[in-house]
C-alpha cells in the first residue's frame, strides 16, 4: 500500500509533468513517479520516420506545384466564377495538409503513454516558434516539429538551436530566405546591372529573434550593431530552389549572397568562413551563460510556477552549464528537483493542454480537425498560429480572460453532453485527478444532477484547469 504522499506524487507526475491522466495512468506511475518520468526521456514516437527533411522537401514541391496550378487556372480563359471556384478548391486541398498535421499531433497527444515527452516537445516547439501566418510556413509547421525539434529535444541545445534555425520553416517564417549581403557577389552584380541605389538585401528579423527570443534574451548584452552584424553573418542561409535538385526545398548555404568579411558580435570576432561563420555565432550563443539562465527560468516557469522557486532555477542552470546544454540531463534534473513537486497546482493549462487532457480523461481521441480547431481558435490558441515569434504566452492572465473562461465552460458543457451518457464521471474524476482532487470538488461532482453536468464540472474544476 502506498502512502498519501506517494499518491500525491503520482498524481503530480502525470498531470503537472505530463498531459493529464488517462484511466489507470496514475496507478502505473505510483510505484516510482520519478522513474516513470525518466523512462520517457528518449526519442521515438512522433518523430519523422523519414530521413532529414524529406517531408519538408515534399511539401515545398507541393507548394511549387500549387503556385504553378494557380497560374494555369488564371490563364485558362474560363469565366471569373469558374476560375475563383477552382482556385478555392486548389487552396482547400493544399491547406488540408496543415489540418492533417495538426490532428495527427493531437491524436498522438491524447493517446500517448509518454505525456512528459510530449510536453517537452511542445515546450521546445513553442520556444522555437514557427507560425502558420504564411502558406509556406503553414505547410511546414508539422514537418518542422518532426524534423527539427523532436530529433534533438533530448540532445545538445546547440544542435537543437541549429536544426531549428536552419529548418526551411524558420527561414521562411522570419524572412531569412530573402536576406542578401549588400557587399555579396549577387548584390554587386544586381547593382551593376540595374544601377539601383537601394541598400541591398539585409533582413535582420531572424538574427534579432535568435538573440532576443531563442538564446540570450533582450537583456543579454547585445546592441543594434550586434543584430546587424549577426544578420550579415547569416546571409546566404536560405532554402534551396527547385533549380538545385539535391537541396530543393531544404536548407542550403548560398555563397553568392553571403556578405564577405570578418564579423564582430557581442565582442567576439568571427573570421570569414562562409556557413561556419554563422554556425560559430550559434555555438557561442548556446554556450552563453545568459542563455542558460534565461532558458532554465523559462523551463521552471513552464512546468512549475510563474514565479518559480529560486533553488529550482539554480539547480537547472547548474546542470545546464556543467553539461554544456545537455537537454536530457536538464530533464532529469527537473524531475529530480523536490521544488518541482511542491503541492498546489499553479499553472493554468493552455487551451490545447486542456482539450488534450479532457480527451485523455475519458480515454478518447479526436478524429477530425473540425472537432477541435474551432474551439482552440475561440479560446485564443488557433492551431499552429501563435501570435508572434515569441510563441504562446505562458501566463494564466493571458489565457484566463473572462471571455475565454466562458468559452471553456461552453465547450465543457457541449463536450460532456455529447460523451457522458455511458461514462462514470465519479470514477473518471478519481482516475484523472487522483489525490489532487479536493473534497469540495469530489462532493460537487458526486451531487451533480446528471452525468453530463458532473463531467462538465470535473473539466471546469480548478484542479483540472490547473496542473
Amino acid at each position: 500500500m502506498a502512502g498519501a504522499a506517494s499518491e500525491m506524487k503520482a498524481a503530480i507526475a502525470v498531470t503537472r509533468f505530463g498531459l493529464g491522466a488517462r484511466p489507470g495512468e496514475i496507478e502505473t506511475a505510483l510505484a516510482d513517479p520519478e522513474r516513470w518520468l525518466e523512462d520517457q526521456i528518449a526519442l521515438s514516437d512522433g518523430g519523422s520516420a523519414l530521413s532529414e527533411t524529406t517531408l519538408t522537401g515534399q511539401r515545398m514541391e507541393a507548394l511549387r506545384r500549387y503556385q504553378a496550378d494557380q497560374v494555369q487556372i488564371q490563364k485558362s480563359g474560363q469565366g471569373a466564377e469558374q476560375v475563383s471556384e477552382q482556385l478555392r478548391t486548389l487552396r482547400r486541398n493544399i491547406q488540408s495538409a496543415t489540418a492533417m498535421d495538426f490532428i495527427e499531433r493531437a491524436r498522438l497527444a491524447t493517446a500517448t503513454p509518454h505525456g512528459f515527452r510530449e510536453r517537452w516537445s511542445l515546450f521546445w516547439s513553442n520556444h522555437f516558434t514557427v507560425s502558420a501566418v504564411k502558406l509556406s510556413t503553414a505547410l511546414l509547421c508539422g514537418p518542422y516539429e518532426k524534423e527539427a525539434i523532436r530529433p534533438h529535444m533530448f540532445g545538445r541545445f546547440e544542435d537543437l538551436l541549429t536544426a531549428a534555425i536552419q529548418h526551411p520553416a524558420m527561414l521562411l517564417y522570419l524572412d531569412q530566405t530573402g536576406s542578401v549581403g549588400p557587399g555579396s557577389p549577387a548584390a554587386i552584380r544586381l547593382r551593376n546591372r540595374t544601377r539601383a541605389a537601394r541598400e541591398a538585401g539585409l533582413n535582420e528579423n531572424l538574427a534579432r529573434e535568435v538573440l532576443e527570443l531563442h538564446t540570450v534574451g533582450v537583456d543579454g548584452g547585445y546592441l543594434q550593431k550586434d543584430v546587424t552584424e549577426f544578420a550579415r553573418s547569416l546571409t546566404g542561409w536560405t532554402v534551396g530552389s527547385a533549380e538545385s535538385p539535391d537541396r530543393a526545398g531544404q536548407f542550403t548555404f548560398r555563397p553568392s549572397t553571403h556578405e564577405p568579411g570578418v564579423r564582430t558580435i557581442m565582442g567576439r570576432r568571427y573570421a570569414e568562413s562562409g556557413l561556419d561563420q554563422g554556425l560559430g555565432v550559434l555555438r557561442d550563443l548556446s554556450a552563453h551563460p545568459a542563455t542558460a539562465r534565461r532558458l532554465c527560468f523559462k523551463l521552471a516557469q513552464h512546468f512549475v510556477s510563474e514565479t518559480p522557486p529560486q533553488d529550482l532555477v539554480g539547480r537547472l542552470t547548474d546542470a545546464w552549464i556543467r553539461s554544456n546544454g545537455d537537454l536530457a540531463r536538464l530533464a532529469r534534473t527537473l524531475i529530480r528537483s523536490p521544488a518541482a513537486w511542491r503541492s498546489g497546482a499553479e499553472k493554468l493549462k493552455t487551451p490545447y493542454e486542456w482539450l488534450v487532457s479532457s480527451y485523455r480523461a475519458i480515454d478518447r481521441q479526436p478524429t477530425t480537425y473540425g472537432q477541435i480547431a474551432p474551439t482552440l481558435t475561440a479560446l485564443g490558441q488557433r492551431p499552429f498560429y501563435p501570435p508572434s515569434p515569441e510563441g504562446w504566452p505562458d501566463e494564466a492572465a493571458y489565457w484566463a480572460a473572462p471571455d475565454a473562461i466562458i468559452k471553456r465552460m461552453a465547450w465543457a458543457e457541449r463536450f460532456s453532453a455529447a460523451v457522458a451518457s455511458r461514462l462514470e464521471p465519479v470514477a473518471i474524476a478519481r482516475s484523472s485527478l487522483g489525490a489532487r482532487m479536493s473534497s469540495l470538488t469530489a462532493k460537487t461532482i458526486a451531487r451533480a444532477e446528471s452525468r453530463s453536468e458532473a463531467l462538465a464540472l470535473l473539466l471546469m474544476s480548478p484542479e483540472f484547469q490547473r496542473r
Binding site: D175, A197, E199, V218, A401, P402, I406
Partner: protein, 406 residues
C-alpha cells in the same frame, strides 16, 4: 428583450451571494464620466507610420522608401507634407469634418526595437520594460474608481496587458455563447471561491455575456479574419466595421464600458509590405472599418468619444532587401472622435534627412506616448495631473501631458 431578462434573473438566482460582488457597481455611488468614452486600439507588430501617413513632402522620402514609396496620386491628400494611405478612406473623411488628426512621430520610452519589450512599455505605462505588472488603463480605472462609476472592456479572446490589474474589467470577443441558464455557472462560482484567477474571470465573463446578448440584437456579429483576395478584404473590412458597431453597442448601454482596448494584429511587415495593395493595405482597411463601425454604432455618443490607434514602434525609414521594413522607432498615431478639437498634425515633424534620423535609420520620435495618453486622460477624463504623473504612468513627470486635444 424578455428572453434576456429571464436569463439575467436565472443567473442572479443561481449565483446568489456571489453575484453582488461583481455586479456591485450598480450600487456604487457617484457621478459617471458624463458619457465620455476612450478607445485605445493597439496595432501589434510595429505599424509602419511612414506608410500610414507618407510624408511625400520630405525630400528624402522617395529615395529612402525605394520600391515601397507612394506616388503623390496614389495617396489620399492630407496637407502639404503628408498624405494618407489609400486604405484609410473613412479616416480621411473624418479629417475633413475636423474629427480626425494624425500624430506622425510618436514613440514609447522604449528603444530596444523588441516587439515584446515595446508592447510591454506601451501597455504597462512604465518608463522601462517590465517596470509595471499592471496596465495603465487598469490603473486609470483605479484612479477613477473612488468617486465614479466606470466600466472597462477589452476586445479579443485573451486579456491584453493594458487592461490587466486589480480593477475588474471585462473581455469579449465575437462568437462566444454560453448557456447562462444552466446550473453550471453557479456551481463553478462555488468551486472557484478560492481561485484568484478563475473566480473573478468567470464572474466578469458571465456579466459581459448578458451585455453581449443585447448588443447582438443591434448588430449581428462575426469573426474578422485576415484575407488576401479582393473579396476577402472587402468581407474582412465589413466584419471589422461590424465588430466596431458591436463594441459600440456595448459602450452605449446603460452602465456600458467607458474605457475600451482593442487589439489589432498583423503589422510586422518585414517582407513585401506592399503599397496600394498588399499585406499592410489590408490591415489598414480593417482598421479604417473598425473606426467607421465605432462611429456608426456610437451614434450621439461619438461626440464624446476619442479613439486612439497606436503601435509599439515604427519601422526603418529605409526599405529593406525584401521590400519590407525592419523594426524602427517612431510611428504615426491615428486619433479620431467627435470629442477631438479640429486641427492639423499633432507634434513636431522631425523630417527624414540623414541627420534627422534616429541612429541613422529610424524616424526620430518627437512625442512620448505617455504624453499623448496623459493629455487625453487629463482633458478628456479629468484625471488629476499628480495621479497621472505618479500612479497611472509611474515616474513620468518628465513626460508632460500633451493638452488641448479635446
Amino acid at each position: 428583450m424578455s428572453s434576456i431578462e429571464v436569463s439575467r434573473r436565472a443567473l442572479l438566482g443561481g449565483m446568489a451571494g456571489m453575484g453582488i460582488a461583481f455586479l456591485g457597481r450598480a450600487e456604487a455611488a457617484g457621478a459617471s464620466l458624463a458619457g465620455r468614452k476612450l478607445v485605445i486600439v493597439i496595432c501589434r507588430g510595429g505599424m509602419d507610420g511612414l506608410a500610414v501617413s507618407p510624408p511625400l513632402g520630405s525630400p528624402d522620402y522617395a529615395a529612402l522608401r525605394g520600391a515601397i514609396a507612394f506616388a503623390p496620386e496614389e495617396v489620399l491628400a492630407l496637407d502639404g507634407e503628408f498624405g494618407l494611405h489609400p486604405s484609410l478612406t473613412g479616416f480621411r473623411a473624418l479629417v475633413s469634418n475636423g474629427q480626425a488628426r494624425i500624430l506622425p512621430a510618436l514613440a514609447s520610452p522604449d528603444r530596444a526595437r523588441s516587439h515584446f519589450e515595446a508592447q510591454d512599455v506601451l501597455e504597462s505605462g512604465a518608463s522601462t520594460a517590465y517596470g509595471a505588472e499592471t496596465g495603465w488603463l487598469n490603473r486609470t480605472l483605479q484612479a477613477l474608481a473612488p468617486g465614479r462609476v466606470v466600466e472597462a472592456l477589452s476586445v479579443g479572446a485573451t486579456a491584453p496587458l493594458i487592461l490587466r490589474g486589480p480593477a475588474v474589467s471585462g473581455s469579449w470577443s465575437p462568437g462566444g455563447k454560453a448557456s447562462v441558464s444552466s446550473r453550471l455557472p453557479g456551481l463553478l462560482m462555488d468551486l472557484y471561491a478560492g481561485d484568484s484567477v478563475l473566480g473573478p474571470a468567470l464572474a466578469q465573463g458571465l456579466e459581459t455575456e448578458l451585455m453581449a446578448a443585447s448588443a447582438r440584437a443591434a448588430a449581428s456579429s462575426s469573426v474578422a479574419m485576415a484575407g488576401t483576395s479582393v473579396g476577402e478584404v472587402r468581407r474582412g473590412t465589413t466584419e471589422a466595421t461590424t465588430l466596431g458597431r458591436t463594441v459600440a453597442g456595448f459602450m452605449v448601454q446603460p452602465g456600458g464600458p467607458d474605457l475600451v482596448a482593442v487589439s489589432a494584429e498583423g503589422y510586422d511587415t518585414h517582407a513585401n509590405q506592399g503599397r496600394v495593395t498588399g499585406a499592410l493595405s489590408v490591415r489598414l482597411a480593417y482598421l479604417d472599418g473598425l473606426i467607421e463601425g465605432l462611429r456608426l454604432g456610437l451614434g450621439r455618443t461619438w461626440s464624446k468619444t476619442v479613439v486612439v490607434c497606436v503601435t509599439e514602434f515604427g519601422r526603418t525609414a529605409r526599405v529593406n532587401g525584401t521590400r519590407g521594413t525592419d523594426h524602427g522607432t517612431a510611428s504615426t498615431a491615428l486619433l479620431a472622435g467627435g470629442a477631438l478639437k479640429p486641427g492639423g498634425i499633432i507634434g513636431d515633424w522631425p523630417g527624414l534627412g540623414a541627420a534627422a534620423l534616429f541612429e541613422g535609420r529610424d524616424l526620430r520620435p518627437t512625442v512620448d506616448s505617455r504624453s499623448l495618453f496623459k493629455g487625453l486622460l487629463l482633458d478628456h477624463l479629468g484625471i488629476e495631473r499628480k495621479l497621472l504623473d505618479r500612479q497611472v504612468f509611474p515616474d513620468s513627470t518628465s513626460a508632460a501631458p500633451l493638452t488641448g486635444l479635446v
